[in-house]
Amino acid sequence: MRIEVSFWGVMRRHAGAERRVLEVDEGADVGALVSAIDGGAAMASELERCAFAIGTTLVPRSHLLSEGDEVAVLPPVSGG
């Protein structure tokens, strides 16, 4: 199934794009989606510290994906 991924903060720099569309197996969870994100070593390292959101809900890596989900990749935050 197709999942749209959006990258935020430094992850946008690592990904070289705001968005990517990835193909994952039916029944895949967020963790499987993360494994399907290609990138360099810096990206892989930073992904370990990222949170994920669908809409305005933070979801754990065990969250099961549905066709058409849009998953936001959120690196550690630094507001204020």
């Binding site: 510290r49 990222c50 754990p60 959120l74 690196p75 550690p76 935050v77 630094s78 204020g80």
Partner: protein, 156 residues
């Protein structure tokens, strides 16, 4: 600014300049004897390095929800009737206000404590990212706090 006022007051995350005056006039209450205010402004150095400006970016819908949640949690936990937080995004120069927070309560002790919680929680939980710019034209994202619900990694 006239007709923009309601939108500016409703927003927790905005690209236009923050207005403490608007936030104060919007939160006036006769039953509150304490008003605690925090304003975080852009400074010209970080970890010994000169900084010329910052750029804040945000996942705005999620940040709006999380900051509203922090405001509600602060009001409940500290028993204060008013807590509001606003964060600016976009490119900011030295001295510009990046975050303002207002707490009003009957007495000062809970106002100070609630204000600190609201600001600390916003910095630690709202999906907002800070990129620093340096005199040589280079930039870097500031290391932050992990917000993954299933991966609480302590950060500086």
């Amino acid at each position: 600014m006239g007709q923009q006022t309601p939108d500016l007051l409703a927003a927790r995350v905005q690209s236009s300049a923050l207005s403490l005056d608007l936030l104060l006039s919007d939160t006036e209450r006769d039953d509150c004897g304490a008003l605690a205010i925090f304003s975080g402004t852009v400074r010209n150095h970080h970890e010994g390095r000169a900084v010329t400006g910052l750029e804040y970016t945000s996942h705005v819908p999620l940040a709006e929800r999380i900051i509203e949640e922090i405001e509600a949690e602060t009001r409940e936990r500290f028993g204060v009737p008013v807590c509001r937080v606003q964060h600016r995004i976009g490119r900011l120069g030295i001295g510009e206000s990046a975050i303002i927070a207002v707490v009003r309560s009957a007495h000062r002790a809970e106002a100070f404590a609630a204000l600190r919680h609201a600001v600390d929680a916003t910095k630690a939980r709202a999906p907002i990212w800070k990129e620093e710019f340096y005199p040589d034209g280079s930039s870097s994202f500031v290391q932050g706090c992990c917000i993954a619900p299933d991966q609480a990694i302590p950060d500086a």
